[in-house]
Symmetry: C2
Subunit: 402 residues, 2 copies
Amino acid sequence: MLIVKKFGGSSVANAERVFNVARIITEDYKKGNDVVVVVSAQGDTTDDLIDKAHEITKRPNKREMDQLLAAGEQISIALLAMAIGELGCPVVSLLGWQAGFRTNTTYSAARIKRVETERIRSELEKKRIVVVAGFQGVNRNEDITTFGRGGSDTSAVAIAASMKADLCQIYTDVEGVFTADPRKVPNARKLDEITYDEMLELATLGAQVLNNRSVEMAKKYNVEMEVLSSLNPVPGTKVKEATNMEKMMISSVAKDAHVARVMIVGIPDEPGIAFKIFSRVAQAHINVDMILQSVGRDGTKDITFTVPEDCGAAAVAALQEYADRVGAKSLTYDTKTAKVSVVGAGMETHEGVAAKMFEALSEKSINIQMISTSEIKVSVLIAAEEADRAVSAVHAKFFDEM
Amino acid sequence: MLIVKKFGGSSVANAERVFNVARIITEDYKKGNDVVVVVSAQGDTTDDLIDKAHEITKRPNKREMDQLLAAGEQISIALLAMAIGELGCPVVSLLGWQAGFRTNTTYSAARIKRVETERIRSELEKKRIVVVAGFQGVNRNEDITTFGRGGSDTSAVAIAASMKADLCQIYTDVEGVFTADPRKVPNARKLDEITYDEMLELATLGAQVLNNRSVEMAKKYNVEMEVLSSLNPVPGTKVKEATNMEKMMISSVAKDAHVARVMIVGIPDEPGIAFKIFSRVAQAHINVDMILQSVGRDGTKDITFTVPEDCGAAAVAALQEYADRVGAKSLTYDTKTAKVSVVGAGMETHEGVAAKMFEALSEKSINIQMISTSEIKVSVLIAAEEADRAVSAVHAKFFDEM
């Protein structure tokens, strides 16, 4: 069996943890598996390197930034390889370019074009464990590129896809994907399985278990992923194509507190309003999530929408000139809101998910400010201070009754 | 003019020093020169990385150690390139493999086979300053190799030799090569020029201004070097082929306190003694420097020799079995000795250098334990506590009288 394992920076933060990871790897290797390991930079290394760059300049050249940051994984792969060697197993570490990661030339957010796996294959044929630097590759100019935060997940899936690995295991500090945040909801249960689409919805909702690009790639190439703990050796959550999961209506309740709500009140009720507003927001490179447009009243209407928390001020700035010109009554934003969502592939074939969610909130007298839905998701915007209570109520409604 | 500049780790230890170095570089660039810069890892980075490896294992795999250490220069070249960019000059950083350093496969002490300079040339044609990671290259398997301590000097000379640069400037924390250690001898003078051979003798004498391999390579390819200060912008010392330096009898007085003296007393006075002793020492990979063999007395003789300070115990261990077998009276070593040398290409054509040196020591009642000479050097072994006094006396004898 060919297994790709990915370990994040906190899993290799010091010598003790490096050995913990080395033991997980060598156990699977000793069972006769071919093992390719993808590892991130240790602990705070990447942040420390960014600080060093910022001591030099506020706007570091992006090519040089990638050259700098790639040193982080170079350190962690060498140390992990040393530890695996110390445990008596043959091993070799490979940088992104040595492992064949060819990317485009978009520094700091490079896209993988292909993985030329000859070197990895030849090392596996020599019965070596292969430790690969995540997050990094090389472009056609032979310059180092990096994939952006969370890019090591993508590295792991790209190898698994290119080599048709049997499993791509993503080790984290949680035991898997839960029906809700287990730190907040004591009844939260670990899921054995979840679909790619559910995982994607959860990732966009702020449940940062897996990097989104990696899940998209896994879905595209049908790579079976598993999210599991590097500290607690129990089975995790498999991420795969939907099989017999229909019986489960929803898989998870998630909260995203990093939301800003932008309100523009009293604008003329005429055609093209939405286009005029959201084209300006898009030009400012701000992603809009939920949108609410009021019914026209006195010849005016109100538009409310949500953006990432740190984009609230920028969204207002992007609209100020327009709001002044059309004589809007007010243009404001606030960040005292949170989005609570239920996600589940089963939703498509089960009616009443939204109604059941609204019922749970109603029972707790929690006011809903906005609503948005997709095929496998229902999200509501509520006051931030009620978010945890809302998650518990919704979770209880769906899971305690099943 | 094509200039290669090399800066050591202390010259780029923090952001302020990085900018200092960047200013030196951009000044020469703005004069219209092509500038290639070789830089070492920042300050203690290399030692920190070695410590990290030793937390994992006492005997790190050498390939992985090179993979690890090469991250050090990766960080410094990126930061220096950012600083040069911040000063408004076009720049690109290149890792050893990107800059074309092809080496053999001897990890941790790799030899440069060639520098494939196409990339450097094409970057210079684009009018960019090129910042190259010293100390590292890549072998035929595409694995990272490093050149050992001081290897960045060699990187700089290798580029200068391959590209027929007009000058290879080695920046250090001293202003050049002095007639003696200026911290010990107030009258010490900076030399304008010194020959390759003199520089090589000085390096082996413990005056660690330049890495020896780099001077050997510079001599072989006739690369003109200059040793100068990164902190004080004054002309340094040129290292080149002898020209009109004959008038100067000696160029420098040097001290090496890191010497151990090994004494084997009362061994049979028969042919082959020296071979038997020094073949054993060589098998223990210990370099012998000075050798003194007493005249035979009572059918026995004594042999005394010097080795690097930290090899004294190992040399005794290597000889113990032999000494016991032939019934030597004693086999001991001590490290309370120092070697003081005068070096000068002019010595070949000037008589009486040794005599003048001995006169200086005699006037100060300093006892000479051993003597060794080469074409351009006279060395004496004396008691360690008299070494500084000896250097001053010899320096005064040669330089204050000129």
